[in-house]
Subunit: 604 residues, 2 copies
């Protein structure tokens, strides 16, 4: 039994998304992307996918098996990571979507993210260092002054140093209002930072000579709550003279402990102490007390990135399960039980195909969703027309909690199905699906838990601007329905999606009214169910768009026809099994069902 090499993502699917569903090359009509063409997109994609398959994926298992070691106060990562780190930087991962004036390639985010998905599917941990580094650089690029940019941003984008996000504290968790780290201004201009942080991914390692932590802390005398939290760049080693330079000296940043994560095992998650000896220099990013708003302005990108992580992790496992199901003989078709006939590959069993098609629907639906969202990010930043930028920004804001959550939550289910397809072998660490299942679980937790995304969607995003984002989404869905009708897609799907969108709109009005009456608890009680409902609809929209493109492909005789037929089967699956869940979910949200609202802690 030979299981084929795992492709991580289906190249044809990526091509389909970019060129048949989303028409990404149209972005090149915008000035920011003017130097690009489909050819430059493909060059970048091709270099990333080749590196992912040939170099990075072979490192996954050894890195997963031997997590970083913490010895003598420092973290040593797996030696293999050192071999792939520099080549990944040379691929251009850190600056693919950044502007040329900071050394970037100005690629659309939609292209950069899909290319990045190959790398994530190959080794999520290795990508983690780079994702954090480019995000930290971007924060400084957007909000930092020239001194910060020249001291930190340039080195981060060059991959000489790496970055972290040091937000969470042990006593506060998701509640950033309760950040207690302190910063005291000195006459020299820098601040002395003091405090404890936890879950700092990549907080220490031996991949680069220095690490820049972006730390949330309160300046002495700041107001309480989130309005008193500032953002600081705090290097592991500081230049002797600020900002001029000089040799690097220790900056009183220490590793307090290592968290033994169950996945992403190449990327250490650390408890960190800043300023235990009173000598930790931090440099204010932007204005005092604006730290949370800076972080939130960066959050969209980080949350879409989580969606890509999740989609990529589910994709790798799906392709592994598919390869296994095509190769593994076991049992015989229903009604053909003659034991003297040869066994058939398990893909021939309907229930195995069900598990594979469900994975396909989730994985490819997730990839379409993150691509669509990334494209709105591209338009929000670079569309020519200010009104179009605003509209794209609204759609981006609205879709972000869904893009963060759906691939994480349903991806976890998809990863579990990949394990299940492997049967008893799936329960063994000699096969890969269990590792991806562990990796996936983080995505519903970091960058805002699923519960927080639900509150964000219903409490902020759909009601902002008088529901403008939801109306914009309705317009987009209508456009897709029009395209689908023209392409000859099943009319019932178009009708059902239209009806479901109306249902969502009415439900949202109903809930918003409760909020306007001041009953915020009632409004947000079913925010998790609302998020699930909205996710099912948004992914149905994606599947309708893919079905339209598939019908168009079949109509023009593009090949292979089987690729399009598979897309139509997966779309049918989503419209037949997931979309019909919408009415019951909407009724639940609307009813205000109060079981867990009235449940008291002592009744459990």
């Amino acid at each position: 039994m030979t299981i084929p090499q795992n492709p991580l993502l289906n190249d044809r699917d990526v091509e389909f998304l970019l060129y048949e569903v989303l028409d990404a090359p149209r972005l090149c009509e915008l000035p920011y992307f003017a130097d690009h063409t489909r050819e430059t997109f493909d060059l970048y994609l091709q270099s990333c996918r080749r590196f992912a398959r040939e170099v990075l994926f072979p490192t996954y298992r050894p890195v997963d098996a031997s997590p970083p070691r913490f010895e003598g106060g420092a973290v040593a990562v797996h030696p293999t990571l050192k071999q792939v780190f520099q080549p990944m930087i040379e691929l251009g991962v850190l600056t693919a979507a950044r502007p040329a004036d900071v050394g970037g390639q100005q690629l659309p985010l939609v292209v950069a993210m899909l290319a990045g998905a190959y790398l994530m599917a190959a080794n999520l941990s290795a990508c983690g260092y780079l994702g954090l580094t480019t995000a930290a650089a971007h924060l400084i690029q957007t909000f930092g002054d020239e001194a910060l940019k020249s001291a930190f941003m340039t080195r981060l984008y060059a991959g000489e140093w790496t970055g972290t996000m040091a937000l969470t504290e042990p006593q506060a968790g998701s509640s950033l209002a309760d950040v207690q780290a302190r910063a005291e201004r000195t006459d020299a201009g820098h601040y002395l930072v003091r405090g404890s942080k936890i879950f700092i991914s990549g907080g220490d390692h031996d991949l680069a000579e220095n690490i820049v932590h972006l730390v949330l802390a309160r300046i002495d005398g700041a107001p309480p709550g989130i309005k008193g939290v500032s953002l600081f760049a705090v290097p592991k080693r500081r230049h002797e003279r600020w900002p001029e330079g000089g040799r690097l000296v220790p900056n009183d940043v220490e590793v307090a402990g290592v968290i033994h994560k169950i996945g992403w095992r190449g990327l250490p998650s650390l408890a960190m102490s800043f300023g235990e000896r009173g000598d930790c220099h931090g440099y204010l990013v932007g204005n005092p007390h604006q730290g949370i708003s800076y972080m939130f302005q960066m959050m969209n990108e980080a949350r879409i990135m989580v969606g890509v992580n999740a989609a990529a992790t589910a994709s790798a496992a799906y392709h592994e399960a598919l390869g296994y199901a095509l190769a593994r003989p076991q049992g015989r078709p229903l009604g053909s039980k003659d034991p003297r006939t040869p066994q058939v590959p398990i893909v021939e069993h309907a229930d195995v195909r069900r598990m594979l098609l469900r994975q396909k629907a989730i994985v490819e639906g997730s990839l379409a969703l993150v691509s669509t969202t990334a494209r709105y990010a591209d338009l929000a930043a670079h569309a020519a027309d200010p009104a179009e930028r605003e509209r794209a920004q609204r759609l981006l804001d609205l879709l972000t909690p869904i893009t963060k959550t759906f691939p994480a939550e349903k991806g976890f289910e998809s990863n579990a199905l990949a394990l299940q397809v492997h049967g008893g072998y799936g329960y063994s660490s000699e096969y890969l699906p269990e590792a991806w299942l562990r990796d996936q679980k983080l995505n519903s937790i970091h960058e805002g838990t699923t519960g927080i995304q639900g509150l964000d969607l219903l409490g902020r995003k759909v009601v902002a601007g008088g529901g403008a984002a939801l109306m914009a989404l309705g317009g987009e869905v209508e456009q897709t329905i029009g395209r689908a009708r023209r392409a000859g897609v099943e009319p019932a799907w178009c009708e059902r999606l239209g009806a479901s969108m109306s249902l969502l709109g009415e439900l949202t009005m109903h809930l918003a009214e409760a909020g306007l009456r001041g009953d915020v608890e009632r409004m947000l009680r079913h925010s998790a169910d609302y998020l699930e409902l909205a996710s099912i609809l948004v992914v149905a929209w994606q599947w309708l768009a893919m079905a339209a493109a598939a019908r168009e492909g079949l109509a023009r005789g593009a090949s292979p026809a089987g690729f399009y037929e598979g897309k139509l089967c997966a779309a049918q699956y989503w419209f037949s099994t997931e979309l019909p869940r919408a009415p019951a979910l909407a009724a639940l949200c609307r009813s205000g069902e109060d079981s867990y609202a009235r449940m008291r802690p002592e009744w459990f």
Copy 2:
């Protein structure tokens, strides 16, 4: 922050199930259970739960951290397991439900299983050795001759030796028709067994001096397929003379390899070779070629046991998450964002209560389901009236695939929620939820995968005897509805459950007609969805029974009232969020939706 000691199961809930929902002491009116009373039930329960909490649970983490070692051809288990093995036998676990004439206590299975659930929640692997041993002894008790009983059964029930089930082969997996192990009859009466088996739990260890493997193999000249498979008792060490005795000598049973399981890490899963040197003696159990039917007659108990494993594993994690949520301060209530007020325990957040109530609904629904099924097993074996035994057997047969699957599948979701409640800490192996999540995943695979359970339910159980089992279930549900109405339970719940049962009945008729027309593929296409639908309904029935008992408790002023209020909240949750999924699932099954039926392997 102090997290309370995990109770593993809620004692009040166990008491509620046995004495308020199921009226288990009525079983003592039957001759087989005549020596028992509520007091003897409680004594056994109390000794098991105390041992589980005080002795067994503290072994869980060290055993999980250091799986068995395979050295010099033999498996050495964690030393802690040696310390708990004998005391567990002394608790009476092996023979609790067995008849007095084999040294048993003749306890009802429903009591033995709930007591066992504490032990499983404390350390699933440690329980695995005993579960396999008592099952092997029971097989020999039921089908073996006197020689087998005196040679093996007695020692197994005494815990001197342990047992295994050696069914699966590398090339066949779930397809037992393709078993290739051979057995050649000798003039001395024993057989020479030869073949490879895989996934043999407890296949080797150093807990006892000998191991009895129950091996499926083909006698030379046997017919092909499942009708040519026989069952053999194959000891690791055999007595020099059979059946008389003599010293133990090696029996040519070797460990071929260790499978690195992701959970149940105290119980080795092995690849085994039988008869590589042509000297492996096996002793036929029962008649030739009847092996599969013997295994299937034992399967009910094994599958219910999987359900108990799953419910127990979900229960331990639920109680851990509940303890954490009650203790962990973070954030503030909606509409009370003043950062100068203290943070509240996370149980105060609606979405955390949602995750906890969902776990409660799954865990306690699962425990009720396994208890109800075990009670039917008690009646099927020991009811006075043959018609009642037959009726109970039908219900047992019908409920078995659901009892095997629901706690495993929804338990996995529940275990994931327990991790999620712990936030970032849940993603760390320093907290227990991730370990239980790993343990749980096996339960959807072993003893017949979820896919196989769906085929069993729809293809065999609901259609057997002209649908007699489903009619019997309808009668039981009607009885519960009557009790619920009298107790003053929400009438809408009663109506909804009644309507859903009618829906299930009509759907089953519709699908059975397709089968009668010879279209088996069409009939069974949505067997996974059918199993999910039936599970939702059966668990709703359990929650209606618990709601009725809760209302009765409140009416008579039993305490604590909060316990009953919590039950009513969980019942409400199930009736409001899960039961409303039934119509869409039924419509899906009925429609014959063909996305994965027509999907071709090359279209993926």
